[in-house]
Subunit: 311 residues, 4 copies
């Protein structure tokens, strides 16, 4: 399929490559959650200011045993409360994760535009796009994801403001966190349910993907042509200028790039028709796409195995 | 010194305990930075859409060698750009670190109030509080820290908005990050320079700390009295009610809590004057303060050693 | 041109209508700035805490005269500083204005996608989309706008945090505002320069607009057909069901909606071929578009005249 | 009472002056709400993309009549939706209002510190500060206000992100606003209920206010002394140096400023004891405090009257 930068056609890529990029982005979110566990999952029995004064000489031991029972670690030190950098980190991580899901949902929304039409979130058979416009197929799940991600990003401000605390505790954190923490947990869960539904039911139009690549009449392959000409002995700088010229000519005359190449005397001397067709075939210009995807799959599988999860 | 919750006197603590809490909070910021390194410090040579198509069959190897030379890892997969969750995480971590420093600076600002007067940021001999009010000693370094921390928190919104990207890259990240990334690096550096200066030159008024503890005429020790009475056989619930009553009496009559205790018939039977004085001495009600501080020092020293730093 | 909701084709609209919507959105930003003037453009000579104690009995008069000279109003009351809600409002207004410009720039970026190709930001003749991909026409001005708008949104957090102040002033505002205020003024100015350049040099492809409307083979006009059938005596509910059925049929068979209508026995009885063609012509289904645009132009012109500006 | 800058004693002010400053800050919030009404309180019947195509030739009239019935204005132009700058403005205004209330609540929290003890939020007779520390009087209402204000500030990010919209509408606004708008309306209402309760039941300790002013032994009146010496013929620069010297002497020796003045030969020549006592009386150094308060009361009353409210 077409790879796009600035919303414009750039070079060919594959849908699998997009998924591989997302896979690692999601993996990084999981890593962040795992990295923050030892900072986040701690409890304390520390008394009014942290000194454990009312708990007797075995206070640290008591704290240790209680936390063990709760299945969490004892905080290494705390005041009346655990310091709020711990929870702010969690809110940041959730906001980053939500934005990654937003990124994926935004991609689907764009690909689902009727002018592009390459991928579609699942659409129930009985679902109606619009009562008066039954032709519509609105990416409403993805839109909902993007809308809720804005909330998850916004909660970070409150969580960061919670870090500065008056002395051994004040009450401005708890009144705030009573909203922030449940809201973010519920919303990230919901967003993950939604994106899973989207990805499991994703419809892909491969023909349209191929068709869209023809939009620039082969000019998106100009880099490949340039490199081939360079390999055939034409200096790279010269090849660059020639290809650029022919791409602009093809664009101005709205004729296939292939024709512009075939008609050119200099190109003719270095490449024959069959070679040009080979070069212009986007399937031949995917570089290390497959290798990279395989590496990603392997790395991610290993991580899952290390976490005791099945493939 | 007095430990405070809700801005009110709670139980005794020590300045060293406050520092120990901060030490671990700062350590967590260092841990976060270290944890994010493998996600952040990566580079890529991936071509226009990530497929490395123009780099030939040895593209992955070339990328690896170049990154080795740069002293960073190669990104496991990327499009034209490294995905922006990597940089958003960095901005979050910096904002958390800045808020921790804000927390410390806010504490000093409060302790430096003339009504409290327990700690003071350094003040040059020739420094003037105010041209017309030479008696003033303004905590301007700490105030500057708190002001700049607001900027560092605000940058997180922009960094999170940068995660959703159009396809294989768009240009809305770089125009934004050109501000966010240098600004946050410069400001966090400056904030750290300032807080270091504050902490190195911190002036502490120990007498004032002791004096301030007398503000509630010993009533802040009511928890200690209650526990002692409980230990002497009075039921805990009963002890609680009695102590509460005497604390309120002492408060209403504005007389020392010690007098209220000494005058009470029930207390007299269980505790003698010397014992009461022992119990009311805040130095005897610091719980595991010293143990906790020692643990913190040891843990932090070990971490520094593990990072190859001297004590 | 096609009007789009959820990124999908909805009903016809015009580019002029889009501009009219933006015109009012921009007008609202101007109104906000004008509304905040009396709250924002004030100065004060109020001494260390606001009481003007050092300025003698004529202090209010002195303040009045000095502010008159400066061309601003005297604050009705202030402490050492003007209260920070005044400046936070300004930052909010600028962030809203920037987001409106972001909205316009985002629209151009989408319309400039090669698959849509309806509008383009100006592109210098000598400008190169990409060194190896000369066919690219990247909307880099609009992308830059969207990137910088994120910064302007993020500054609001800091400006709002500046409102709570310690007593008669603290220093955490000025250290923060030294960044926020110049940065937002410079960036909004730059964004406005950029969007003006984009709009002045905007290239519009009318043919492509018409062409894109054919993408759903006339089905986007189903609402118009339904209403016409309703007007010819068929009950609205019945008309709705029939049109829906035919639109789905046209979509499934990938044949023009017009054919589906012409072939239908019930439709035939109520509408002849010429009438159907009239109904399916998007130019005949623009409702009050022109009236609304005229109203907007008139209203905006009047506002400009009231502000002493020429048309 | 003491006026404070940087948390330090500056010059005398009055509690009424603080209230007058807040009164105008609250008035500005009311003004902002009133100013935004014509932008915010609008409705529309505009069809799928804003053209009113399905509503017939009298669409604008129909829209007008329906909105009249709803008691709001018709939007001057809209797409399928009202543009989101309208609602973002509302969220900003609410966040500013919440931060103003936060400012007031923060002031009470500081004044309620036992070391300051000048003002207290109401405290139910049966309320207990803490089960083991009955002497505590925690400003929990004010703390709750400050905590919730952080949420109201954070929602602004989401509201601003809602302004950029895909074409004639997308669905990412409504999923987001379903949280933001009810949450902010409920929370601002609650915050206003709380601050009203605080202000109606505010307890003020006038004696403590006077007592606290003695903390700097009269040195906070150095500005007044300097101006008086200046008025008696000593050059201002000279007076400044002398007073500064004596203030530092008084501070170093921890003796009353009055003694330092009385003992000084130069001061003796220009001011007698009675005059010095007059000058050092903070009640004589309140400048235009009363005039300013009266102006504020009058202005605010007039505004209320203009809005049809009783005094």
């Amino acid at each position: 399929m077409m790879g796009r930068t600035h919303g414009q056609h750039a070079l060919p890529t594959t849908l699998g490559f997009k998924f591989a990029v997302w896979t690692r982005e999601v993996s990084r979110s999981i890593q962040r959650l795992r990295d923050c566990r030892e900072r986040l999952l701690v409890g304390k029995m520390s008394g009014a200011v942290g000194t454990q004064a009312g708990l007797g000489p075995k206070a640290l031991k008591i704290q240790h045993l209680v936390m063990k029972k709760l299945g969490i670690e004892a905080s290494d030190i705390s005041t009346q409360i655990n310091q709020r950098d711990r929870y702010a980190e969690f809110t940041c991580i959730i906001a980053i994760a939500a934005s990654t899901v937003d990124n994926m949902a935004s991609e689907i929304r764009e690909l689902q535009r009727p002018e592009i039409g390459e991928a579609f979130e699942p659409f129930g058979r009985k679902q109606v796009g619009s009562s008066t416009m039954p032709h519509k197929r609105n990416p409403i799940i993805c839109e909902r994801i993007c809308g809720l991600a804005k909330i998850l990003r916004s909660l970070v401000s409150a969580a960061l403001e919670n870090i500065p605390t008056w002395h051994e505790r004040d009450l401005t954190q708890s009144s705030c966190e009573r909203f922030v923490i449940p809201e973010e947990c519920i919303l990230i869960d919901y967003i993950l349910v939604l994106i899973t539904r989207v990805m499991e039911g994703l419809e892909v139009d491969e023909e349209r993907m191929l068709h869209n690549m023809e939009l620039t009449q082969g000019r998106m392959m100009s880099e490949a042509v340039m490199l081939s000409l360079g390999n055939r002995g034409m200096g790279r700088q010269k090849a660059h200028e020639l290809v650029r010229e022919l791409a602009i000519k093809s664009h101005t005359e709205q004729r296939p790039f292939k024709i512009a190449l075939l008609e050119n005397y200099v190109v003719q001397k270095l490449l024959n028709k069959k070679e040009i067709e080979e070069i212009l075939n986007p399937r031949n210009y995917l570089g290390t796409t497959l290798q990279q995807i395989e590496q990603v799959v392997k790395k991610t599988r290993n991580e899952r195995r290390d976490r005791g999860l099945s493939d």
